[in-house]
């Protein structure tokens, strides 16, 4: 489609999904895919039943279990002792059967955190609209999809109509140019952005991440960045699709042109592509041609812009109880004078107390009790490889309990094929089954009151990982280093054994 008015990536995807724009009402936006999990769906299915409404497009819904499932062992997942959690998972099984939704259940090869499996299976594609009753749905924006989290009433709305009434968000381009210094990752980029603009810095906006440093990232790094857009308050985060995106998607199970897909190749390949001879190239090329138009036109304008020089970034660590309370590994816990407003000063004071930290304390001097590697932010194979490289030949500090929770069965399988599990286990890490785990502690994986955790997840709110638990967010390599030394450690000076 050609047009004379230059448009942003977001505007192109938005316009393609406008069903109607009734006068005086929000736009009715078509939703291509709704991802479903056990926690935010039961009341939505119940609403459909009470109103005697059908689910309009079961084939545009895909479900899995992730938030509640124990990660300790296969047995513990099949026989869940928490009766309330068990009832919720059983409710999802019944609801999916009743309404004809494909469910990837707890021990299926495709199971994993909902935001892991969408991309792995090729369900997520450029230009789609994707929703889920989970705020980290923004992850899928890494493919140039418009993807955002919704509440349960909206989940029900999509089930009934395959649409959502939406007011058009504003646009915000964040351009990260230059080369990332060694040891600095996608996680550090997004933590730096949240620190700069604040946890409500992008409220009402869809962020487009652009620039050479973003283009240089793998799909996994891009997903980490888009994942935490919500922590900056954004409605969604997006990155224009390019050759990296297309290479990732080609041959995935539900990608255009993939035929005769065998599940065994999914498991063996860690959720990657099927062999070239099972791809219908003409169909694939047609899709790529369509997707290639999904870039922001030259001269298109944004409501806001921010530019960041990647070469100035350093490994980040959060010190407080909001993802915006972040600093770099070589810095100290900020003082009250560093707070931007009186209200922020109150939050700082409360955070010092909750986190049991004093202003001026060097970040490297802070000791940790637990290390959590995983989540939809950093539970992917590249994350586990980066962490394994750090721990190889070392052992976890005696004062630390450390666990690795792969984000999906496919990642777990791939890591085991590469021998990463053996590196982690011999270094003293626990090697777990896939799920959301300690990112939100809805399952048995929680911190004890007062415990301090170096976590690769996305939120450091009070009690997020367990009542009284203290969470510090950081990259997988930095979390791995903290597990070995027992305190936050600058990965830029790490002595790698291999």
């Amino acid at each position: 489609m050609t047009t004379s008015t230059p448009r942003t990536l977001f505007e192109k995807v938005w316009q393609q999904h406008v069903v109607t724009e009734p006068a005086g009402e929000p736009t009715i936006l078509y939703i291509d895919l709704q991802l479903v999990h056990e926690v935010t769906s039961p009341q939505a299915f119940e609403g459909l039943r009470l109103a005697n409404r059908p689910l309009r497009h079961p084939e545009r819904h895909v479900a899995t279990v992730d938030h509640n499932v124990p990660t300790t062992s296969v047995h513990d997942r099949l026989v869940i002792t928490d009766q309330i959690a068990d009832a919720q998972i059983k409710a999802l099984r019944k609801n999916c059967a009743d309404y004809g939704i494909e469910l990837f259940d707890v021990q299926d090869a495709e199971q994993g955190i909902v935001h892991m499996i969408g991309p792995e299976l090729g369900l997520t594609k450029p230009g789609m609209t994707i929703v889920c009753g989970d705020s980290h749905t923004s992850t899928h924006g890494a493919f140039g999809a418009l993807a955002f989290g919704i509440g349960t009433s909206e989940v029900e709305h999509v089930m009934a109509t395959q649409t959502l009434p939406q007011d058009k968000p504003k646009t915000f381009r964040i351009t990260v140019d230059g080369e990332l210094p060694p040891g600095v990752t996608a996680k550090d980029i997004i933590l730096d952005i949240i620190g700069r603009i604040g946890t409500d810095g992008a409220t009402g906006h869809v962020i487009e991440y652009a620039g050479s440093a973003i283009r240089a990232l793998s799909m996994e790094g891009r997903m980490t960045i888009c994942n935490m857009s919500i922590e900056a308050g954004a409605r969604a985060g997006m990155i224009a699709p390019d050759a990296t995106t297309f290479a990732y998607l080609k041959g995935r199970r539900f990608s255009p042109g993939t035929k005769n897909y065998e599940l065994s190749s999914f498991a063996k390949g860690g959720g990657s592509a099927s062999p070239a001879d099972t791809i219908d190239e003409a169909t694939w090329n047609l899709a790529v041609e369509q997707w290639s138009a999904l870039v922001t036109d030259t001269n298109a304008t944004f409501d806001r812009e921010l530019a960041i020089d990647a070469s100035t970034l350093a490994p980040s660590v959060t010190w407080g109880t909001s993802p915006g309370m972040v600093t770099t590994i070589d810095a100290t816990v900020p003082s009250l004078a560093d707070a931007r407003s009186e209200a922020d000063q109150k939050s700082f004071s409360r955070a010092y107390e909750y986190m049991d930290l004093k202003p001026g304390t060097p970040i490297e001097a802070i000791k940790v009790d637990a290390v959590f590697l995983g989540s939809c932010t950093n539970g992917r194979i590249e994350d586990l490889r980066a962490a394994a490289k750090v721990v190889d030949g070392y052992h976890v500090a005696t004062t630390v309990r450390a666990m690795v929770v792969p984000g999906s069965q496919a990642v777990k399988h791939q890591a085991e094929q590469e021998g990463l599990d053996r590196i982690f286990k011999s270094a003293g890490f626990e090697w777990r089954e896939p799920g959301c785990s300690m990112c939100l502690g809805m399952n048995p994986d929680i911190l004890q009151p007062g415990e301090r955790c170096a976590s690769t997840s996305n939120r450091n709110f009070e009690g997020r990982q367990g009542r009284g638990g203290r969470t510090h967010l950081l990259s997988p390599a930095m979390a791995a280093a903290a597990a070995i030394t027992g305190h936050f450690t600058d990965i830029r000076t790490w002595k790698f054994n291999k």
Partner: protein, 211 residues
């Protein structure tokens, strides 16, 4: 959804910014499959002492535990209320506890939407206006505010008068207690027409290789 127009009530002040949905309702209460029964889980950890011999007992200094704020139907908070997780349980808990409105300088997007679906009025006032209301309700727990949705005003008996913006459609839905799904289905002819074309765009289909 209950229609709502004017609300006159005392207000409970919670003078903190960035109150996230993990604080509004901690995750252990998200395992339930019901839509009701969340009132006792609202601010669950903040309502309880976390340390000492009385850990787990009500925290007498927390505003919702103070008898003088019992029955308040308005919650006052600072910037970015409801940030974090998309859990609608946060809106359910606030509503089922008895709050019909929250006044703050700003709200997080997903919470804003969830509150609307549950008939909770969210009022955005300036920092200074919210500060004044917090001071008055802190000094006098019996201090009453009146929110008029029709007039888009917040007033009190001491001469406070502020106006707020609200999207006309959201206002219409709140005033009439309208069901969003029913409203969308009024446009079903347009939806059918859109779909008959959109289904051909296989590159935007979840299962692109099967359809």
């Amino acid at each position: 959804m209950r229609p709502i127009n004017t609300l006159t009530s005392t207000a409970a002040p919670l003078p903190l910014p960035n109150i996230d949905t993990d604080q509004i309702i901690p995750k252990q209460f998200l395992k339930r499959i019901e839509r009701t029964g969340y009132e006792n889980f609202l601010f669950y950890d903040w309502r309880r002492l976390q340390e000492g011999p009385d850990a787990g007992q009500p925290n007498p200094t927390f505003v919702l535990n103070k008898p003088e704020y019992k029955g308040a139907e308005i919650l006052l908070a600072e910037r970015n209320f409801g940030c974090g997780s998309s859990r609608e349980h946060a809106a359910w808990a606030i509503n089922q506890y008895g709050f019909r409105a929250v006044i703050a300088p700003s709200f997080a997007d997903i919470f804003f939407s969830n509150a609307g679906k549950n008939g909770i009025i969210l009022v955005r006032l300036t920092n200074a206006e919210v500060e004044t209301l917090i001071q008055r309700s802190t000094a006098n727990p019996q201090h009453k505010l009146t929110i008029s949705l029709e007039d888009q005003t917040v007033t009190d008996a001491e001469g406070f008068h502020a106006t707020f913006d609200i999207d006309p459609f959201r206002k219409h839905c709140l005033l009439n207690g309208l069901d969003d799904i029913g409203l969308t289905l009024l446009h079903e002819d347009k939806l059918n027409a859109y779909e008959s074309n959109h289904q051909k765009e296989f590159w935007l289909s979840p299962k692109a290789n099967i359809a």
